[in-house]
Amino acid sequence: MSINLLHRHVLDDHISGFETDPNPNHLSVIRRPVIFSVLAHAGREAEVAEALWNAEDVAPRFCGPSEWLAVSRTVGAETVAGMLSAIAGASVVDQSDGRVLMEIFGPSVRKILSRCVAVDLHPEVFEEGQSAAMLCCHATANVARTGADTFEIIVPRSLAGSVFEELMEMGREHALTRGFAD
């Protein structure tokens, strides 16, 4: 027998029914991002970081002094795996199925996120391109500013439903819409 390789997104159960056009404030769920944990071994932190920041097609997200997430929306997991495993001094783990990537944007995005995270997201404090691990809606998340009014939120799959519902709840005042990006 052959296994039918149907891939299910954990938020399929949460995003159903008629999709409306996105409002100015919108939460977009990326269906199949590539996300790897990158661990730098002792003493190799700087060179791993440098290689990661120079890598094409992946965006590095800071988790800790020797840990990052490498995120790609453009190339496949095998390509990313190949590229990352070439980085000397690093160990990598595919987390593409274990993490859920959401992008939230719009003029009220900071107001919405101030109900979700404790970190000051003022653009002079949390600059474009910056990322960090933090509590978001009671879950450990990685939050990155990817634009003036755009943030990327990566959460563990098992908690994604809870985080998603809470984000939508906090966005009600600002007419936040949601949908899969693709």
Binding site: S37, S66, S91, D94
Partner: protein
Amino acid sequence: MTSYRLGSGGAVNRGQSLNFTFDGRTYKGFEGDTLSSALLANDQMLMARSFKYHRPRGVVTASSAEPNALMTIGLGSRAEPNARATVVELYDGLAAASQNRWPSLRHDFGAVNDLFSPFLGAGFYYKTFMWPGVLWERLYEPLIRRAAGLGKVTMQADPDRYEKSWAHCDLLVIGAGPTGLMAALAAGRAGIRVVLADEGFRLGGSLLSESAAVGGQPAAEFAAEVVEELASLPNVTLMPRTTVFGWYDDMVFGGVERVQKHVASPSPDLPMERLWRIVAKRAILAAGAEERPLVFGGNDKPGVMTAGAARTYLNRYGVAVGGKVAVFTNGGSGYRTAADLLAKGVDVTAIIDARPQSADPVPDGLRVIRNGSVIATNGRHRIEGLIAERSGFEEVIGCDALAMSGGWSPIVHLMCQRGTKPVWSDEKQAFLAPDVGGAFVAAGSAAGHASLGDCLKDGSAKAHAALDSLGRLVGSLETPEVEGEYDPSFAPLWYVPGARDKAFVDFQNDVHVGDLGLAQREGFRHIEHTKRYTTAGMATDQGKLGNVNAAGIVAGMRGVSPAEIGTTTFRPFYTPVSFGALAGTARAEHAAPVRTSPLHGWARKNGATFVESGLWYRSAWFPREGEKTWRESVDREVLNVRANAGLCDISTLGKIEIFGQGAAEFLNRIYSNSFLKLPVGRARYGLMLREDGIVFDDGTVSRLSENHYVMTTTTAYAADVLAHLEFSAQTFWRELDVRFVSATDQWAQMSLAGPKARIIMSRVVQEDISDTAFPFLAVRDVTLRGGLKARLFRISFSGELAYELAVPAGYSEAVADSIMDAGREEGICAYGVEALNVLRIEKGHVTHSELDGRTTPDDVGLGRMMAMQKPDFIGRRLSTRFGLTAADRLQLVGLKPIEADKEIKAGAHLLKDGAKPSMANDQGFVSSACFSPTLGHFIALGMLKSGRERIGERVMVWDGLRGSEVLAEVCPPVFVDPENRKLHL
């Protein structure tokens, strides 16, 4: 007509009239009114009954310190008790009800308490209702609670939403009166991030009640202009209707914003209230000052209020609090109120000034009784006159309202919430804010500045100091001129002698001067003891109005300065905060986040019943049609696994990926058993100890390549184990190159167990998984038919031939469906954690029911897993202590009932057969128990003293809690396949 709305004036919108009800009667007010100003405009001075004596009460203030005018606002599920009418913003359709009265506010049966008041002094219930003790809970307390009280809370669920939010700023300004506005303006113009919060619905504070001119224009217009400029600055956040109620560690302030409390039909998309955590680099307390009541006989009669309140109702709301107002004062505030009343055409009958002389300007024709005092008031539901006394002569003065002023107390609570006490100032006759370091300072009248001009100046100056300390100072101080300023000074007067009626200190708790005296006489002399004995300063207002007077009076009684008495402790919250706001969204099913397994959907469509396990929802059992109890389903699942095969979701087990050249050595030190020689492609069961030699967690480690391992942990300890690894690597053995990351969420993991597991699994994976190619404890990467990469482990918890298959989470439902299809002919079933638990008890495998933080490896029969030849591992050193190796320790045994139909329950105690239940006779306990469908009777695992030596002995299983006694035989803990034949099929 006594109190009434003036024909013009005030900051109310006379074009927008609002209907509201009070105790069922309909009234009209205007937009911009508070409930209290609207009630006064309708000549409704009687607003409440007092807490203990049920005395008629009116409004005393126009502020959040109001002790009397507490009402229940709203109907049904939205009814909120104890709202202060002085800060309730009027809206169309508002329904207010008075409290603590029966049958009505005007005719209250409870008022008999006032007649019995000689017996109801401070501490009366401690003395009166002492014996018998049992009656206290059953009779006295319920009676007292019914007779004395505040509003009643609704028992219906709150229909509204609440949320919490963070805010970050350079400067937080608390209070938007003259001081706060000037501070925010200076800081806002300098470009720093400013938050300006004020409890009121209109920013401006006392400027809105001010008759003086500021900057050449009416004060309220000046305030509006400043607010308009602030609103235009992108770096300034204005937060009206937001009470900053607490100052916490690290310059975090708590605030509550009443988002929709003033809205007739609240929007479902907005919260009712929002809780703020405001992180500020600097903060300025510009909360203003509270006017002190004077403590004289009958000072609680409706119509007696502070002079500042009378002035606020007049100037801000265009309401005269009476037709004939008398003034009793010890300072300039009374004169200012009299002048404003006269200017608006309100009759003022006299000023009774407690001081022998003063330089305050007296309006033409107004009578001033100097060196005078008020000793009693007439009237019942409203003051009808007062008895003034001077030099022994008494005089009745007619009035229908009395404005009193006893001086001013800076509102310093927030600055005293982190352990620092306020400081008494003889010069200001007030408690001032303590020095709590430069980041948080008081300004304006909160800092003891009395005049409007000084407040405006101080607000700018304190903002400049904050800017300077942040390195952001630009520009110079600008302060607008004030015209029509008065002299705000006052002479101290704590208590007016000669009272003919009770002279109240704390209105809300009905504490009068006599109570304070009694407390001193009976030894409750410390102000904190005085508070508890008399209840002065308790309940919803926490003594905002009365505490300073209480300190002054107690000081007078003891002949010391108020500095020696001090104040009681100020704690958050400054004003009451609703539970809704504190809970935010964390209610009902959102009380905690929910973790779902990747196979949640698969389990659901197979009919699973779920059970909470920490944050996880795990499939517990899969009922089928016709099964009436959970046991029927579980028994079927267990038997089917033993006979055929079953599929169980075990994705919730923690999975930790481990890398590095030091990983082998690291694992060798983390586990009690050896890991150095674990071959690639093999899994090993491991025990982790705590440093005290007790088992911490168990699990498996598989070596995937030379320097790459994957560890599984129990579901419950996944987070603790990862933290333990991180801690050990970071602090104990920094020389070892080892790195970890959790991959729990990446992999769905399922256990396929049963004699037919191999046949089924071989239909799913491409590789050879025969016993030779893939023996017990083998591990390898596999490719599923269809191409998916996965990890296969030959590990068994059930005691059957079993495989654990890990697949990327998103594919798990498809894979599980395929396995179910592949096993249909073999009679596969889905099984849940309840069946898994039965399977492992039958097999004698331990879980945290046995590894309960008290057991050593040897206790649970795993002594062979102590690799003592290793020089070091966590827990090694203390594992050999005498206490942990004693022969009479509790040891793991099996238990089976002598009479086969008897049930053994977990938690029951084990006694020697025939011994009486007592601690002395306690021999151990049942750690896990279940019905074994395989054996057809109940079985159990237990911890029994020297248990391994007692196989075959009879013990009494005594369950005192549920009242059962079952005779059981001690047996080895492995009930099924003790020779492990099934594992190696």
